[in-house]
Symmetry: C2
Subunit: 426 residues, 2 copies
């Protein structure tokens, strides 16, 4: 056994541990972001009613909410500073940092927005738009974190969390539009269509959530959707569809709608909090396991160093390793390779690790596919907005309708759109 | 402009630079690996003839070749030590390090193999197999490097290089089997089929090479394939197909075959050396450009710090940013946003950078697809070898024939095989 070769065996394990530790920190960041997003969604809803009522309703609630939002912001900011600006090891993802920077720029201007809301200097729609952009910017950071994950199980939980947050965000937008429509009595056909679109978007995101959630999380989701609030909201949704095109304001129903939608969102928030707690447990357990493997490797290497150099299996004669097409020897099945007495050889330790790493990488592929598809859809939407001057809603609708017409998945349509519209490389 | 936000803008750029610098080092490693692989291929061919001739032929050439191989090995080893074992910043890819470790384990046992060859203690086939496994292990590291790349242009060149090396390796195996067959007069139908498979494998790899090569590199490839050596080899290939099943040794033709095949491989080596040289230039130019952008950012930030805080565009009011479905304002096309006098605002700097990073990431997707497909094929082959006890050749042939039958790409068949055979997660 050559010394540098053994060093590379340990270096590979150390790199895995380091990546997992960074991922563990990223998961803590994602937890803080999830909490801030929840508080911003509440603040958006409360500000909406405050503005629509001409400062008469929710003035106190708004003040209380600002305290919660500010607390969540401070916790996120100190996590960000500790993790990226004061850390000894610099983060190696420019995409994550750039996403954080964009969202922080929005946060820096939140005080101005709040002042405008307080003085009734903007409309409910303008305020809702601003909060929604800020929330979208933070959600993009969560998606980016999932993309950076090096561990399949953690990656799956991050994809589940992102899609739960995304579902909740569409629910928040549905709540906002529904409340505005019912309060003002402007239940236009256009608005009814928009609510339907937002319901379909929730279905899409929650389906991806369910695909990547644990069995327990899936059960909790089903309980949530069968709860009274969700059922009541379903009935109001049906009513709104029937009222589409009418023009009678029903402020009392608007309050009911807001209340049920909020209850449902709060239930999603509980699930989200459980998910982030489980994510923390999962990451520490994964780091611990990798560290134990490193210790195991180190003690094995010490043990092997004390033995005479065995002339056992090497890469060169391992017939289960690829190389020459038409090799004469049939490969031996894994696990039946001749075991070196008295101890397993260095090569076997190495083979196991390399198998483990390959396996980990392969498992990531599934979770990555969901992330890649989500990013494709986001990118196609953005390109349609820029080049065809569509709103985000129109862009999503176009993707969705093409997918229905061509009987394929939205991601496939998005892929075609990106290929057709992407800037030409020079 | 808030201070931490600007720090994140710079941190994102610094992360990009750091990733590019690491990539630049990885490209140097790949250059050294390419050279070692070339020398090992030569050593494999020479050892083959030395063994087949019972030490009569190529004894001197073999001694000379061992000097070249050892030099290439030493250069690679010092690069590896400097880059991974002595570096202050540790590498964060366990996959790359694990691949290096596996290949190094093979290198550690090369001396034993050489001794066996020198003493005629192994067959030409055994020696060829051992060298081929070692070469395959190094090629896997090159593929892994391409997968780690954060820059689309560099990634494309790495994919091109990997496929050129892979083409050359199949050519080397074709040379070995052809020479053995012609010299021994054992031109069985099975061997003829194997040669055809290796020619098809060369076609597949060279097609991917051409897809990712620059126009100049494509032209050089076409020149190479139209050169005398390649044409002569084509004629001998046709002859071998006709001789299939016959049993007359033609050692003189075997020499010719070896000579033309070697000439063609040497031409590929020249192209490979140009490719690695261009890769070095490309990486330094890319790092330089990113560093200039960082300086530009820094001076812009200083400039902006001296100005009164502008109430210009922010994320919250940028209607080209996604957020609320059904937002009322039509997005403005990029580039037509109102410019802040006298200087562009911090937000615009940020938007440009985030656009740049998104664009870079999107461009990577194409190159990544080729890598993912290659890894899928490799993984499917390995699973077929392990679970169905096929040789690598049989596994590849099965994938290829299924693809032909079902009129789809090998990667799609490989995907189906991986899904069917992958170990069940617990």
């Amino acid at each position: 056994m050559n010394h540098p070769t053994a060093q590379f065996l340990l270096a590979a394990k150390q790199a895995e541990i380091k990546a997992l530790q960074q991922l563990s920190e990223t998961c803590l960041l994602v937890t803080r972001i999830s909490e801030l997003v929840h508080q911003l969604q509440r603040e958006r809803g409360i500000s909406n009613i405050f503005l629509a009522s001409g400062s008469e309703l929710f003035a106190l609630q708004r003040q209380q909410q600002l305290v919660h939002s500010t607390k969540a912001e401070q916790q996120l900011r100190s996590q960000l500073t500790a993790q990226y600006l004061q850390a000894t090891e610099s983060c190696n993802s420019s995409r994550l940092l750039s996403g954080v920077c964009l969202a922080l720029q929005g946060m820096d201007h939140l005080a101005e927005l709040r002042e405008q809301v307080g003085k009734q200097q903007c409309t409910a729609l303008q305020s809702t738009e601003a909060y929604s952009r800020l929330i979208a910017a933070w959600l993009a950071v969560v998606l980016e974190s999932a993309d950076l994950s090096c561990d399949a199980a953690i990656s799956r939980q991050l994809v589940a969390l992102f899609n739960l947050l995304q579902t909740k965000e569409y629910a928040g937008q549905e709540r906002a539009w529904g409340a505005m429509g019912l309060a003002s009595g402007q239940l236009s056909t256009e608005l009814a269509e928009r609510l339907l679109l937002l319901q379909q978007a929730q279905q899409h995101s929650s389906a991806v959530f369910l695909e990547f959630a644990t069995t327990e999380q899936q059960q909790q989701w089903h309980l949530l959707e069968q709860a009274t609030a969700a059922k009541q909201q379903q009935q109001l949704r049906a009513m709104i569809r029937q009222l589409a095109g009418t023009k009678a304001p029903v402020p009392a129903v608007s309050d009911l709608w807001y209340q049920f939608a909020t209850e449902r969102m709060d239930a999603m928030h509980l699930l989200q909090a459980e998910l982030t707690a489980q994510l923390q447990q999962l990451t520490s357990a994964t780091v611990d396991a990798a560290q134990q493997q490193l210790q195991h490797h180190q003690s094995k290497l010490t043990e092997l160093a004390g033995l005479p150099a065995s002339s056992g299996l090497t890469l060169l004669i391992d017939s289960s390793m690829p190389g020459l097409y038409g090799a004469s020897v049939l490969p031996q099945p894994v696990g039946e390779q001749s075991v070196q007495a008295p101890s397993r050889s260095f090569y076997q330790l190495l083979s196991e690790q390399s198998q483990h790493i390959r396996q980990m990488h392969a498992e990531l592929t599934d979770a990555r596919r969901a992330i890649t598809e989500q990013k494709l859809i986001d990118r196609a939407k953005l390109l349609l907005m820029q080049y065809k001057k569509l709103t985000e809603e129109q862009a999503y609708r176009q993707l969705q309708q093409s997918a229905m017409k061509q009987q394929c998945r939205i991601a496939e349509i998005a892929d075609a759109v990106v290929k057709a519209l992407k800037p030409v490389n020079t």
